[in-house]
Amino acid sequence: MSGFDKVVTSYEAALEGLSDNMTVVAGGFGLCGIPEGLIAQIKKVGVTGLTIVSNNCGVDGFGLGILLEDRQVKKMISSYVGENALFEKQLLDGELEVELTPQGTLAEKLRAGGAGIPAFYTATGYGTPVGEGKEVKEFNGRPYILEESIVGDFAIVKAWKADRYGNCVYRHTAQNFNPMAATAGKITVVEVEEIVEPGELEPSQIHTPGIFVNRVIKGTFEKRIERRVTAKKEA
């Protein structure tokens, strides 16, 4: 079993090997389903020049947003970067490069990257600024653009539970980009709420099989809510 035991007990061990100018793929959608402790560790280690691939860049002071505070991020590959004043400032000051990528294209870039497919054609973005400079090919009379997939040096993922072998399940919509991110890292690190023994998770219910996972660490999560909206009370 020990050869398959992916559990590490310190954040130092979880991100060992992370260095300047690496590409880090991060799961999460907004602040939902983000590996909070791993992000905090990246800030603590202080590596710089990072390219971060994530749908969003957190908010000021939380999530990936904290990596902007010490200018650790050189480039963001994201679909939506609103609601973050520091991000906006660094973007306008030219300190931060942003490659805006349609959400579905971003998900597919990671899925394809993890699946060993270097590029794919999609209709998304054809005829828009996203398609500029990209190869166009027609299939059945419709034009598609060629998009290249992404594999990161590291992938940081948030799961609900994992067993020691790295088999993961996600909870509710905290799944989001995490399963694709998990496949798209040369080293994939998963931060979980609970570590269980092999056999405790139903094999057919596992979202991410352990083969994609290199390290598992148990974290504690604040789970900040970006937009808390509740049902209006009936009069």
């Binding site: 959608f29 970067v81 054809y126 937009r227 509740t230």
Partner: protein
């Protein structure tokens, strides 16, 4: 009279067929969920990875792991499913979502849409909008017919960076329902009390209108 936001949403909801899978954008499109006609069931898709989006939660139901594409806390209906963002966009890009409703800055006579970026202003990103307009079977654009300065948003050719090309077939504004085909806007309905002349005046792109255009029914 020009329609209110809720009246536009009401008219949008009349488009839905029983058993439709529907993705609603932020703003007026989201309001359409409140006006789904009696006897019609639709299932709402939220592109972060939820099919069967329900109402907002009560205080004791709020769950940080349960949000919609607008990052708001939500609930799931009975029979909902939750999946990865890759699966979510397989539904969208693969043409499995029946209706997409979204807002726009501009639409033109060739079915092009601009909805995500105004040069010189801060760019927040396209999110899933480019995938949605590339993939859905029926795309309905909701917007005011003209901007607050009175400039038409229905143009001969979009001036802003595009979200998608040749993809918009139906537009529901505060003044009219229009189809986009053969390089023109075709007026099919007008808001109660709004004349064809007023719509023509506020439509910069080529407009084709019959002598007798019916009013919307609510």
């Amino acid at each position: 009279m020009a329609l209110t936001r809720d009246q536009i949403a009401m008219r949008v909801a009349q488009e839905f067929q029983d058993g439709s899978y529907v993705n609603l954008g932020i703003g007026i499109p989201t309001l359409a969920a409140n006006y789904v006609p009696e006897g019609i069931e639709v299932m709402l898709q939220s592109e972060n990875g939820l099919l069967g989006m329900g109402r907002y939660p009560d205080e004791d139901e709020v769950d940080a792991d349960m949000i919609n594409a607008g990052k708001e806390t939500v609930t799931a209906i009975t029979g909902a499913s939750i999946f990865s963002s890759a699966d979510s966009f397989a539904m969208i890009r693969g043409g499995h979502v029946d209706f997409t409703v979204l807002g726009a800055f501009e639409v033109d006579v060739n079915g092009n849409i601009a909805s995500w970026m105004i040069p010189g202003k801060l760019i927040k990103g396209m999110g899933g909008a480019m995938d949605l307009v590339a993939g859905a079977k029926n795309i309905i654009v909701t917007m005011t017919h003209a901007d607050k300065h009175g400039n038409s948003k229905l143009l001969g050719e979009c001036t802003l960076p595009l979200t998608g090309v040749n993809c918009i077939t139906r537009i529901i504004t505060d003044l009219a329902v229009l189809e986009v085909a053969d390089g023109a806007f075709h007026l099919t309905e007008r808001a109660p009390g709004v004349s064809v002349d007023e719509i023509r005046e506020k439509t910069a792109g080529k407009l084709i209108a019959a002598d007798d255009v019916p009013e919307m029914q609510f």
